[in-house]
């Protein structure tokens, strides 16, 4: 055997692919797509507050989203670009989560008879469950209020009439309950996610870490208060057609 023989060099893929193949890389992707999805959640939530200004306002808001870019881009093209970006982020987020979950289940060598966790929180421990609930809800929510596909959507669905569609949908008690459950799951999910993403992105500092917790708590509180107000407002008759 010669000692000069070189070990075969493994083909190196372009670095984003190399990076994503690793678990640390997947966590980076989870965090970055998490930022994108969080941004969407916040924008969507703030936009929806227009419901309280009346049907005119929210319907114009919906129209404005389709008109994003004004005369600079063909109608709905910028909205579609955003939607495709969001869809890509969601797909990557779910794929990375699925793949990491599989890795971690394999890595776990049996359960302890007794295990007294100190740092693990309800939120950090249920990310897979809350994430799945949110994902299922997103499908329903799209069918209900975007595509207007029965039976998810109410009978009287009319494309473009955001206000009436929403009120008609939330007047159905099971839908309102599902919405509340899904948003509570979302709140728990982003409570751990918001704190955790800074760690995954390598952004941590003793002086800054307390603000990561505060930001997570603030976002969670905002999602719970604002998002849950919509079905409650419809059910109590504050928002009506």
């Amino acid at each position: 055997m010669t000692t000069t023989e070189e070990a075969p060099v493994r083909r190196r893929y372009p670095w984003p692919i190399e990076f994503y193949r690793s678990a640390v890389g997947k966590k980076w992707v989870m965090a970055l797509t998490g930022v994108a999805l969080l941004g969407y959640i916040v924008a969507h939530m703030i936009g929806n507050l227009k419901l309280y200004f009346g049907a005119e306002e929210i319907n114009h808001y919906g129209e404005a989203l389709r008109d994003l870019g004004g005369n600079l881009a063909p109608r709905t093209h910028i909205l579609w670009a955003l939607r495709i970006g969001l869809l890509g982020a969601a797909l990557l987020h779910v794929h990375a989560a699925y793949s990491l979950t599989y890795t971690n289940w394999k890595a776990r060598g049996g359960r302890y008879r007794e295990r007294d966790y100190i740092a693990v929180t309800y939120a950090s421990n249920t990310m897979r469950l809350t994430g799945t609930v949110v994902l299922l809800f997103v499908f329903f929510h799209l069918a209900d209020l975007t595509w207007g596909a029965a039976p998810a959507a109410p009978e009287e669905f009319f494309r473009g009439d955001v206000y009436s569609n929403l009120v008609a949908s939330f007047e159905r008690l099971p839908v309102a309950i599902f919405y509340v459950i899904a948003n509570l799951a979302l709140a728990v999910h982003i409570f751990h996610g918001t704190w955790s993403l800074f760690q995954s992105l390598g952004y941590s500092h003793p002086r800054f870490n307390i603000w990561r917790k505060r930001l997570a708590a603030g976002l969670t509180a905002a999602v719970v208060l604002i998002n849950l107000s919509f079905p409650i407002a419809v059910q109590t008759g504050i928002l009506k057609i």
Binding site: A23, K27, R108, G109, R113, I118, A119, N125, L201, S204
Partner: protein, 253 residues
């Protein structure tokens, strides 16, 4: 005090194991946890029964061998110490104490409470070193080390490689161990030439044995040296740079 131990007994690797109960009467509260096990083992030997196998060496919290899961907590209920530094005064008369080996696919059980932690050695072999010119001793202080870097590096270097972070992690990730070993060298001037080769090699080796970090922070609580998960953030930062830079270097050949 009189105690009851519930101990995992397993004859060898890949063999089925089970919990067995042992009465441990008349234990003085000032003996250490390992001395308590010694006493129990002496009694078992006198009765011609197989003593409980557990790992130990320095018994002063620096060798990292004695880690076991005690009542569901790595290294037991006392924070910031290894099993050997735990004393029986932390328990009460009549307590039932459950003692389990670390459980992770990367740490196969060898016997009873002893696990094979050589996966951690594989991670060190992959890059946990620096290359220096040997020969006559260099002049002192030839390489200036910033005070902040020295302090942070020493905090990371406190890691004794006991594996409690892996044992504590719901994903059996070895992130805190690897992050500590990386930060120990990556923060110092002497560690710079191999910084990114080291980071990629050690993280990739780690991932071939262990799970992935989901930021529960349970490892930080379990660590007998209380190493901060902030070092894991440094690992994440260095790893993305390493993939980028090492890829570029490979392209220059």
């Amino acid at each position: 005090m009189d105690l009851t131990l519930r101990v995992w007994r397993q004859h060898g690797p890949n063999q089925p194991g089970a919990f067995e109960e042992y009465a441990a009467p008349d234990i003085r509260s000032h003996v250490s946890f390992l001395e308590m096990l010694d006493i129990v083992n002496d009694r078992l030997s006198l009765e011609d029964r197989e003593p409980i196998a557990f790992e130990h060496d320095c018994r002063e919290g620096i060798c990292g061998m004695c880690g076991v899961m005690i009542n569901g907590q790595p290294h037991g209920p006392q924070q910031g110490t290894a099993t050997c530094q735990l004393h029986m005064r932390k328990f009460r008369d009549g307590d039932v104490i459950t003692i389990e080996p670390w459980r992770a696919t990367g740490f196969p059980v060898l016997r009873d409470l002893v696990v094979d932690r050589s996966a951690l050695d594989r991670i060190i072999e992959a890059g946990g070193y620096i290359t220096v010119d040997t020969g006559s001793a260099p002049d002192a202080n030839l390489v200036p080390v910033p005070q902040e870097a020295a302090e942070a590096s020493m905090d990371a270097a406190a890691c004794i490689g006991c594996g409690a972070c892996v044992a504590a992690c719901p994903n059996s990730a070895a992130q805190l161990f690897t992050a500590a070993k990386l930060a120990h060298l990556n923060l110092l001037p002497q560690g710079q030439p191999e910084r990114f080769m080291r980071t990629e090699a050690m993280v990739d080796t780690m991932e071939s044995f262990f799970g992935s970090c989901t930021n529960h922070a349970e490892c930080e609580e379990a660590c007998p040296k209380q190493i901060s998960i902030d070092f894991i953030a440094l690992l994440n930062r260095d790893y993305i740079k390493a993939k980028w830079r090492n890829g570029r270097l490979a392209g220059q050949r």
